[in-house]
Symmetry: D2
Subunit: 140 residues, 4 copies
Amino acid sequence: MEIKPYYRKLNYYETDQMQVVHHSNYPRIMEECRLDMMEQIGVSYDRLEELGIIIPVLEIHCYYRQSLKYNDEILVVPSLVKLTPVRFTVTYKFLDAKTGELKHTAESSHCFVNRDFKPMNLKKSFPEIYQAFETLKDET
Amino acid sequence: MEIKPYYRKLNYYETDQMQVVHHSNYPRIMEECRLDMMEQIGVSYDRLEELGIIIPVLEIHCYYRQSLKYNDEILVVPSLVKLTPVRFTVTYKFLDAKTGELKHTAESSHCFVNRDFKPMNLKKSFPEIYQAFETLKDET
Amino acid sequence: MEIKPYYRKLNYYETDQMQVVHHSNYPRIMEECRLDMMEQIGVSYDRLEELGIIIPVLEIHCYYRQSLKYNDEILVVPSLVKLTPVRFTVTYKFLDAKTGELKHTAESSHCFVNRDFKPMNLKKSFPEIYQAFETLKDET
Amino acid sequence: MEIKPYYRKLNYYETDQMQVVHHSNYPRIMEECRLDMMEQIGVSYDRLEELGIIIPVLEIHCYYRQSLKYNDEILVVPSLVKLTPVRFTVTYKFLDAKTGELKHTAESSHCFVNRDFKPMNLKKSFPEIYQAFETLKDET
């Protein structure tokens, strides 16, 4: 299936006195985009947590090319660039929603753990959910 | 016992493009101050949660008199102005740490609930913790 | 004109370890709703700041009736309940977007100031913008 | 001069429903630590902004090894690992303040720009401030 980019307007409270969106908000928007992507493949994160599948962040990498401002509208395009039974990596392109201009690129890596934060092999424990993730690998 | 005011420096990421600390950060500083006050009477909130005592917020009231800026230093003076076995109210004075000038006043109300968010009579369920709260009533 | 309620999904990063949306996020959602309301009457806040009209917060009052959770969808209904040439007050109803249930009520008061934070009489300085605000008074 | 590590207690509002500190708070703590380091060498960031020296973030890299929890106490050890007249890079070690255990490592890169966000050669424009940064390169 085709993944729709994540649309987002930047909020006033996300700016700082440099008159731009504070850089710590980008990982939050990446999370919004990533969970939206998962919802699009039928794997809503609140359902995962109910099943005991927790997905913490291992690494975050952000490359700020151009600043975002209050009321700017962006599209965030996610790609699942790596998937194994125990972890995955997503990249993000932040585009100006009006001009398509590239404002920011980013990457996040995650693993699957259970409620006690012990590593989980998703393919073995929840094969059908792992399969859903695999469709992302092909399509984005 | 005498409660020490809560010292705090304002962070850059707490500012917005109006060049002042965004108003949504004040409830966060109130929480820092309130939990610090509880720690001073030997009732650390992480211990309370372990015991199954949850303290949600019922109401918040904020009166912004003068803006705070990045790197400002403040002292927040808490007072337990009301305490019953099921709820309590704290008021807060935000003072400039250098001049003592009053910058902000606020109030928050809370109740005691168990892990299922059912109301709890703290005096009956945890009399010694209720007693600790009572010392605040007298002293602040 | 009729004001459309502000639609919002709650984000994962807005939760805390109490498993609910942290109370400090509500003033942020109130701001999103208020600025959206202003945009609906043709008074976008970024344009106001360009004109030198700054609108700080004077007071905030929040009444938390029921907790919000990650992925909950809400509608926030704003009402301009008071307007003078120098200040205004907005009330907010947070409704469950699916059931219409009332989850939270709130109120914020604001004044008009210039770039030096000096009080401004909006009716005198920018009569046509004041007029736009007046349509809110009648319609919400 | 010797740089003192940055001490920090983790706040309740920084947790999420995974019961740990949300990963988006780490870039904020990095900023607190970086600005504290600059203050220790007599280069307070609010003074820099007054002089028209703006220091935006170019890149952020975070490696989450172990989760932090509410009320945890940490020491963040910064190192200026790269400095040129137009940009610099800082690395951060997040240590458990009690055990010294390494919880997190991170890196941020920055450039110097003027108020119009045009690149600035700090060594040429403000040699004595550049010199202050150079002492960091030797000492941390």
